[in-house]
């Protein structure tokens, strides 16, 4: 590599950061206006509303009201559902992806699993709720088979599809395939040479995973689970169709607020929505930060 003259190097590094050509911004104007009108300003108006009282003057009362026990409970249930499904599908999805990448299963199974995951991660909302009602509901096929053939009545043992664990079981159906889709590339990036090198240096299987495998996989694993958390946290349609409004999740409460003033205070509703955006923003920021870290090893 020949050393470039200083002037040329300077010109090179300046160009990408030079001021935008005078009219180039016109090209992104339509998109910017659309995004502003139908996404940023509406979301911003909620933000504004969460700091206003019904008369329109500034207040912090709505934000303070977010700590009301009933609302806190809502956030707690939402966070629990998201965390449980993110954790469960994170681990199970990792094992599934592992078994078709490094686990040595036939190639056909891999493409089969990935195709199915593509379909299943898109199969959500109302039809997904229907499928689980038909399967695990009070008269669903599995419930009935368990009762008549095995004599186990799930609903006598504290299980209900329309409660916390039922919702988790249903969410898993779109969370798990999503996990398989996002973690498979990371597992593909695990080089065989690392394992061979560690084995030839006398490391045991446990040592390999403890000191090499897991540290490399941890960032992508964690970032995927954060994405799953956000995915479940914002979900409305599935919960709405499954539980109606029985289980108080944040999206359900916001939905009820839109359709009628259940909180007796619209501005509290705005604060509720604002809180949701905050949680999602934290998720996405953590996700991007971890992704940067992850891409160091896994290309």
């Amino acid at each position: 590599m020949i050393d470039q003259p200083a002037g040329q190097r300077g010109a090179r590094s300046v160009r990408p950061f030079s001021l935008p050509p005078s009219h180039a911004w016109l090209g992104i104007l339509p998109f910017a206006l659309f995004a502003l009108a139908f996404m940023i300003l509406p979301a911003g108006s909620l933000l504004l509303g969460s700091f206003q009282d019904p008369q329109g003057s500034f207040t912090l009362a709505n934000i303070a009201h977010l700590t009301r026990p009933d609302i806190l409970k809502c956030y707690l249930v939402s966070i629990e559902v998201s965390a449980v499904t993110a954790l469960a599908s994170g681990l199970f999805g990792l094992l599934l992806a592992y078994s078709v990448t490094l686990g040595g299963l036939p190639k056909g199974l891999r493409s089969g699993l990935l195709t199915f995951s593509g379909v299943a991660s898109n199969f959500a909302g109302v039809p997904l709720a229907f499928a689980f009602i038909a399967t695990m509901g009070r008269v669903g096929m599995v419930t009935v088979v368990l009762k008549t053939v095995f004599g186990i009545n799930l609903y006598n043992h504290g299980f209900s599809l329309y409660s916390f664990w039922g919702l988790c079981l249903t969410y898993l159906y779109f969370q798990l395939p999503l996990m398989v889709l996002i973690i498979t590339p990371s597992l593909d990036g695990m080089k065989k040479e690392w394992r061979e090198a560690s084995e030839s240096l006398g490391a045991s299987k446990t040592q390999y995973w403890l000191h090499i495998g897991l540290p490399i996989l941890a960032p992508p694993l964690l970032s995927s689970m954060i994405l799953l958390f956000g995915n479940a946290f914002g979900a409305y349609a599935t919960a709405y169709a499954l539980t109606g409004g029985l289980l108080n999740l944040v999206p359900i409460l916001i939905g009820a607020q839109i359709q009628g003033d259940v909180l007796h205070d619209p501005n509290l509703g705005y604060a509720l929505a604002f809180g949701m955006v905050i949680v999602m923003t934290i998720c996405i920021l953590a996700y991007t930060a971890l992704q940067k870290h992850a891409s160091r090893w896994l290309k």
Partner: protein, 261 residues
């Protein structure tokens, strides 16, 4: 090695059980539409309901409008970024990914608050629904278009076409767009699959769309919802299948990550 494969088979088996039991259960359940015998009666009743066709057609129209508006908005923008305004890439990219941060229920809340009073009283117009859907599909359209453009030598192609005397119309419609048809197709399919059964925006803006219709059927009936779930699964399967078929026969990348839940 053998032990590892044994574990792999076991996880695969458990996964398949979880994936297939609900499908099988739903299918069997949907066959019970007529008392005492297995039949497709529930499916017949679904198709015989005039609301089924009405709401499906409505959502179909919304999906097509969303695809048209979304692509018309994003294709020129992303091409412009690649050719003339690379400095704007972070701005547009962030905007396109914002719908991940703003869940549909929050988005529609904001739209209603902003557009239900003068000066912009458009809450009951179809335009607002389509606009909301376009926002929901931003991430998927942006990613597809961006990936499609990155896969081709956009600058080289446009410069070559220009030096041969092509105008901008020719460059767009005969050079650039045909070269990225797989990405455009995948963007269209993903958008379609999001809009066709979408519930949140349609319910809150009170439109007779397919999503609210399904939810309504689910409240009143037992076997028809199962039939709808199977039909909807087949539709999703068909869309993803078409997408993969397109990318395999034409070549190129397509992403199947998507969906609003």
């Amino acid at each position: 090695m053998r032990a590892r494969r044994g574990w792999a088979w076991m996880w695969m088996f458990l996964g398949s059980l979880y994936f297939f039991i609900p499908l099988l259960g739903t299918f069997l359940f949907s066959l019970h539409g007529k008392r005492g015998v297995l039949s497709f009666a529930a499916y017949h009743r679904v198709f015989a309901d005039p609301h089924f066709l009405e709401t499906f057609t409505f959502s179909l129209q919304m999906a097509i409008l969303t695809i048209i508006v979304g692509l018309t908005l994003l294709i020129p923008t992303v091409i412009w970024i690649h050719l003339r305004a690379p400095w704007a890439k972070p701005i547009v990219e962030t905007c396109s990914l914002l719908p991940f941060v703003i869940p549909p229920i929050v988005l529609v809340f904001g739209l209603i608050r902003m557009y239900s009073s003068p000066p912009f009283q458009i809450v009951s117009s179809r335009g607002l629904l389509v606009a909301g859907y376009v926002v929901l599909s931003f991430p998927y359209i942006y990613r597809s278009v961006d990936a499609g453009l990155r896969a081709i030598d956009l600058r080289g192609l446009t410069e070559a076409a220009q030096s041969l005397g092509a105008g901008w119309g020719t460059i767009m419609f005969r050079v650039v767009l045909p070269n990225m048809r797989v990405s455009l197709l995948s963007a269209a399919f993903l958008t379609f699959s999001i809009v066709i059964g979408e519930l949140t925006l349609a319910v809150m803006l009170a439109w007779p769309a397919f999503g609210p219709y399904m939810a309504h059927v689910g409240r009143d009936l037992a076997y028809e919802p199962a039939a709808i779930a199977i039909l909807s699964f087949l539709l999703t399967w068909g869309l993803i299948g078409l997408m993969q078929l397109a990318s395999r026969s034409i070549g190129g990348q397509s992403s199947t990550l998507g969906g609003t839940h």
